[in-house]
């Protein structure tokens, strides 16, 4: 036996005896970005079942603040990012698509996408599907009926009344990409491209001392509206669902002089240099898009499932609109345009609104 044969034999022996010890666990390691609060609560058990079934290893990372924050955080790291799937919504998808970070998705490799209506997908310039839509969610004004006495709120003009002094909980412009501003603008005849009437309304609210708290994420909104000193808020369906589970609330989804906002949430599959990992990320996203998991994911979130074979929760029937109601009560703004305005809106908020809230 020569030296090479001896080494080969030793390597083979070591390999066979140490095999089970050094063997890589089967499956891929995935890093998935998800929102906190009830989002992660519903996702963790789904992820654990998936790990047991496939051997993939799912590591969750939580959004810090709004989902747009992840874009700012990843920008200096790109393309050396670890994240494989990012849960986000329309404006964030637009920003990530513009940066060229997302992997196209195709029903050939993700069969559950065939059960999702085409209108829900974000597409690139080549017409490729770029997102995995999981939920139809919304942002609405609403209030805790146990804390608002007197005339029920039928118009957000009523929020200027003295009884709402310090009672309003609103998001910073960067949250929900400035839908608060758009809602206030619509109230005074404007929209996302004619936002000035919204600033005037907001200035009135701040000057009268009616804005009691400014929140930056779901957890803050849920905690603020649960504490008992705030009674009215503008927030997304997920946050409202958590508050509605504990306190009697009325969501103002059918205002005659304003609109509710609809948007899609879901997964973006991130580009990367490991095809096996991208394939695993697509399989996991596809799992979330299947009817049973899509139903299970959306039920506690109070959002509408996107898979046509999924079931919507009974409790959200008042939130979502029939096709006839859509043009009357709902509004889908130009989220790409709003994403380009968030920096300017945030600066204006810092310069004009925060000082007013403090002085009131």
């Amino acid at each position: 036996m020569d030296r090479r044969q001896l080494l080969a034999a030793m390597a083979a022996t070591a390999g066979s005896s140490a095999g089970p010890v050094f063997a890589q666990p089967r499956g891929e390691q995935l890093l998935v970005v998800m929102w906190g609060a009830q989002w992660i609560e519903v996702c963790r058990p789904i992820g654990e079942e998936w790990m047991r079934a496939t051997g993939d290893r799912i590591q969750w990372e939580l959004h810090a603040g709004g989902a747009m924050a992840v874009v700012g955080r990843l920008r200096p790291l790109w393309p050396r990012i670890q994240q494989n799937l990012i849960a986000a919504w329309d404006p964030v998808f637009d920003a990530m698509m513009e940066a060229g970070w997302m992997e196209p998705v195709d029903p050939a490799e993700m069969p559950a996408l065939r059960e999702i209506p085409d209108i829900f997908f974000k597409k690139n310039a080549q017409g490729q599907r770029m997102t995995v839509p999981l939920s139809t969610a919304g942002a609405f004004w609403g209030y805790r009926t146990d804390l608002v006495s007197g005339t029920p709120i039928e118009s957000i003009e009523q929020l200027l009344e003295p009884r709402f002094r310090g009672k309003l909980c609103v998001p910073v412009p960067v949250n929900l990409s400035g839908l608060l501003m758009v809602s206030l603008a619509i109230q005074r005849g404007g929209n996302e491209r004619n936002i000035e009437p919204g600033w005037q309304f907001l200035t009135e609210l701040a000057r009268r001392g009616n804005i009691g708290r400014v929140v930056a994420n779901n957890s803050e909104m849920i905690s603020a509206m649960s504490a008992g000193d705030l009674s009215v808020a503008f927030w997304n369906t997920g946050g409202w669902q958590a508050v509605r589970n504990r306190f009697p609330c009325r969501l103002l989804t059918r205002l005659t002089d304003n609109k509710g906002f609809l948007f899609n949430e879901g997964f973006a599959v991130m580009r990367g240099d490991n095809p096996a990992r991208i394939a695993a990320a697509k399989r996991f996203a596809n799992h979330f898009a299947t009817a049973p998991i899509n139903t299970r994911y959306n039920m506690p979130l109070g959002s509408g499932p996107t898979n046509v074979n999924s079931q919507a929760a009974e409790s959200i029937r008042d939130i979502f609109y029939t096709p006839e109601e859509l043009p009357r009560f709902a509004y889908i703004p130009d989220y790409s345009f709003m994403a380009s305005q968030v920096d300017a809106w945030t600066r204006r908020w810092e310069q004009e609104i925060t000082p007013l809230i403090r002085r009131a």
């Binding site: 810090a64 603040g65 709004g66 747009m68 924050a69 874009v71 700012g72 955080r73 920008r75 200096p76 790109w78 920003a95 990530m96 513009e98 940066a99 970070w101 310090g166 910073v172 960067v174 001392g209 804005i211 009691g212 708290r213 400014v214 929140v215 930056a216 504490a227 008992g228 000193d229 790409s336 994403a339 380009s340 305005q341 968030v342 920096d343 300017a344 945030t346 600066r347 810092e350 310069q351 004009e352 925060t354 000082p355 809230i357 403090r358 009131a360």
Partner: protein, 279 residues
């Protein structure tokens, strides 16, 4: 060729570490602060600009900087006022149980979870909390948004008080008790001895404690974030919004560099004033 003295060789590793850990990131921050921002795009702009600094001259941003320092100065002063008696008792109390108990309390405050402390403050001192009436003694109604300032100050005090107190424990320990005994033998009461002998001798340590507390306050991020109700905005919060929420790195970097310079100026200015006063 001259050889480097031995002391210089000893300083070299630390100096290099400082350069890499502090100098490097600050240089990168400075370069980023001069880049233009393209709204709505993830791609950085081209060329160099001072616009990010000019934006900070708006009255609102000067107000936020002033607010950061104002609240920091108040909390730092309260920290020294609160910490000095605690530290003195922890060193000079005739009862060992009091000395040990106070030291354990101060160290315990330091190691207690930050988030738990801040949420406890929110529950206790919040507008519906049981301690809100005490907070209202500041003249700010607990239900007004401005009351968040009181909560932020209490939150910051939780950070600074134990640190300043432990700094002063060292200072008081270094002072010989014989000095107080000598003052007493000359007819001074215990209060006189403390006020006229101990405190002047501990003054440099108190100034150091004040400056450390100020540095901790103006760089704090979590207390204004969790307790500020979105209306008490520190410059750290502005930086976070720029970096994390909007992805406007150049503006965030400009705020960072400006605050770094401002903080150096204030801390060294105050230190120089204190040195002159103590001379």
């Amino acid at each position: 060729m001259r050889r480097l003295p031995f002391a210089a060789w000893l300083l070299l590793p630390g100096g290099l570490a400082l350069l890499l850990l502090m100098g490097g990131p600050v240089a990168v921050l400075l370069a980023e602060s001069l880049r233009p921002f393209v709204p709505g795009s993830m791609r950085p702009g081209e060329g160099l600009t001072l616009q990010n600094y000019r934006d900070l001259l708006a009255p609102a941003y000067l107000f936020y900087a002033w607010e950061t320092f104002r609240i920091g100065l108040i909390v730092s002063a309260l920290s020294v006022l609160g910490a000095a008696p605690l530290a003195f008792a922890a060193v000079r109390s005739p009862r060992p149980a009091v000395r040990k108990g106070l030291l354990a309390l101060l160290v315990g405050l330091l190691v207690m979870s930050l988030i738990a402390r801040l949420y406890a403050i929110e529950m206790a001192w919040g507008s519906l909390g049981p301690l809100a009436p005490i907070g209202a003694l500041t003249g700010i109604a607990p239900r007004s948004p401005r009351y968040a300032e009181v909560q932020v100050a209490i939150g910051l005090l939780h950070f600074t008080l134990p640190v300043v107190a432990l700094m002063l424990v060292g200072a008081f320990r270094a002072l010989s008790p014989r000095l107080e005994e000598a003052a007493a033998s000359l007819g001074a009461t215990r209060a006189d001895a403390v006020l006229s002998v101990v405190l002047p001798l501990a003054a440099p340590a108190m100034v150091s404690g004040f400056l450390v507390a100020l540095a901790m306050c103006i760089s704090n991020f979590i207390a204004p974030l969790l307790l500020g109700r979105g209306v008490v905005v520190f410059t750290t919060s502005l930086m976070y919004t720029r970096f994390a929420d909007i992805g406007n790195y150049p503006s965030g970097a400009a705020i960072g560099i400006s605050m770094l310079l401002l903080s150096f100026a204030v801390v060294y200015g105050l230190a120089a004033l204190a040195r002159r006063a103590l001379r």
